[in-house]
Amino acid sequence: MWGRFGSLVPIGAQTTQISQQRGMATLKAISIRLKSVKNIQKITQSMKMVSAAKYNRAERELKQTRPIGAGASQFYEKAEVAAPTDVPQRLYIAMSSDRGLCGAIHTSVARLIRNELLKDDKNIKVVCVGDKSRALLGRTFGQNIIFAANEIGRLPPTFLDASLLADAVIASGYKFGSGEIVYNRFKSVVSYSTQTLPVFSLSTVQSAPKLSIYDSLDDEVIQSYIEFSLASLIYYALKEGACSEQSSRMTAMDNASKNATEVIDKLTLAFNRTRQAVITRELIEIISGASAL
């Protein structure tokens, strides 16, 4: 932290003060740095406040959304839908958002997908939700991206957002056997974990071994349900992601404010010490000047 702010000192100020002790910046330089760090702290503190408010809302909404996600994924579990071996194509949906400064939220999602892509980049297509995952994956794996969505994370996600995404996945015409939604599951204010939700295509579900436990299913019901459950799962993942993001940003900004306090303390100390040194030097100059008369 200390070293990072060292570069803010203007070079001119250092060269003119060669006579001074090494490492002792001028009073002016220190006060400029002090001011800038204080401003940074103000910014991080207010960002923390904003994300705390957003987090409260996101958590409240997440509680309401959890049953939707659980319900949608229960179907795949109960029917024992498994990824088909004859269709190797897979789909990964990266749930991130447009905004940074929130810890490793976006990188951990991107890392999980990157690891899969490094194993096999022929049969995997990626959908990037949010600018951050697109920026992280776009450069190296641009070939694998079907579409990217942005303008996410400014407002709390709505079901309409999820519907648009699910619709775009279906409309893209990409024939995948199985897929995964990669998102950050919110655990508590201080922790989240990157997890995946399975999604499957119509043909995969139709060939599931235990589908018969569900009564009166015809193809159209299954197709409608698959479409709807994709939207529900995306909606749930968006909510989890939004909540994790806000809580993570809160923690990150809290840490940033703490670090800024530390830097301010050190700078204040250095400032006072330098000021004292200047006063002492001036006194010595006056006294020795007076005694020379």
Binding site: F147, A148, N150, I152, T158, F159, L165, S224, E227, F228
Partner: protein
Amino acid sequence: MSAWRAAGLNYINYSNIAAKILRQALKTDVRAEAAKRDSTTVKITKWVDGKPIKNVE
């Protein structure tokens, strides 16, 4: 095949249209709250051969 699917809609479009109509039919005191859920900001950009394609719309 149901009429809406024959018209080229999938279940997501169909249920969203139904939800929209339902929201409009609500009483005024709850309609404003429900209308907040009736918005989306998401923009989708297609990628072909590793490059994003500009949306015409």
